[in-house]
Symmetry: C2
Subunit: 206 residues, 2 copies
């Protein structure tokens, strides 16, 4: 598998242009909110897997299956099922001995990232993984500006706990610019998050 970068230039500019088209589309199709980021991450994971860099998969959507028909012996059709609440984050896997665990979310807000994008069970899961020295974070995307950040779970948890004590209900963009790690779109992978993970690992070992 050969991946070529045309003369090594950054793709963030192109990505920004494309994103304007994307975000226009997204405004029309509100129901597909979040799909684009998910697809981009899945694509990045496939790239990392193909190059033996990391094994990260999105977990399937948990579904409670109630009724299954077997029209033929080989084929089962689920006729009644319900969405269940996930008990973990969406992505996990292994990178060079390290356990990675993360969630990806996007917002249409321009100046802050609403905490309502997260749920208590995800926060609890991140706390559990941190206890086991896993590398936990969230990938946050501002769809209007197409800016991407990685925020370590420890910081997210701090905002979450403050919110529960009547603190603010969102993370200001200004804070993310300080304590988060901004990422820029690439060609392959689209979202080069392992470069930031390397920084998180290096920081932990300081």
């Amino acid at each position: 598998m050969i991946i070529r970068y045309p003369n090594g230039t950054s793709y963030s500019h192109d990505a920004e242009k494309n994103s304007k088209k994307q975000s226009k589309k997204k405004e029309i199709s509100f129901s597909k909110r979040g799909m684009t980021l998910e697809e981009e991450i899945n694509e990045s994971n496939a790239y990392y897997l193909a190059l033996s860099k990391a094994v990260i998969h999105k977990k399937p959507t948990p579904v409670q299956i109630v009724k299954v028909d077997y029209p033929r012996r080989s084929a089962a059709v689920i006729k009644e099922a319900y969405f269940r609440q996930a008990s973990t984050t969406d992505y996990n896997g292994v990178y060079n001995r390290f356990y990675l665990d993360f969630e990806a979310k996007e917002t249409k807000n321009k100046l802050s990232f609403p905490l309502k994008n997260f749920h208590q069970h995800q926060i609890s899961h991140m706390q559990d993984c941190l206890k086991q020295s896993g590398i936990c974070f969230v990938i946050l995307r501002f769809s209007s500006s197409n800016r991407l950040f990685i925020l370590e779970a420890s910081h997210l948890i701090t905002y979450w706990e403050k919110q529960k004590k009547n603190g603010r209900k969102s993370i200001p963009l200004k804070d993310l610019e300080k304590i988060g790690y901004e990422m820029y779109y690439g060609l392959s992978p689209r979202i080069p998050y392992l470069a930031i993970v390397d920084q998180l690992i290096a920081k932990d070992n300081e």
Copy 2:
């Protein structure tokens, strides 16, 4: 949460007695084959999680959703969906910094474990995880004798590759007794697999 062991005796004897009842039931309900082992592992995972020993979850069954009805705004009913092939093993997570990845299978055979219980994509996934220095293994259960083994993925892969070259289609019980790690049922957790994982880690560090 307080878990008590009554005077520290092993529960393997009781477990054996119970298992006879279980395996009788299992013979009647063939369709539930594999459920018991899964439930036992889920219970063990819940125990390890409650005691902050490890964060291991079973991945949801992957389902391709085709049609969803929204009878009320709050409730979605999946009306048509299909089972998809999983691209990974069933269980993964983090234990004291280590990435664990495993699959659990049982057989009614008495003297060997059929390789048809595994699929190429699972083997490939284990190979990928081993490249990242993950700890990969399978939990194998002989339902007739209620014996449990952990076999390292590297060994399973060897049998798998031999099978592809017209080698035998199963792993002899005698081999498992030599190169596998036998586990004995406990009370909490039912399947104390982390004790074996500790041995695998110690061996790797030798």
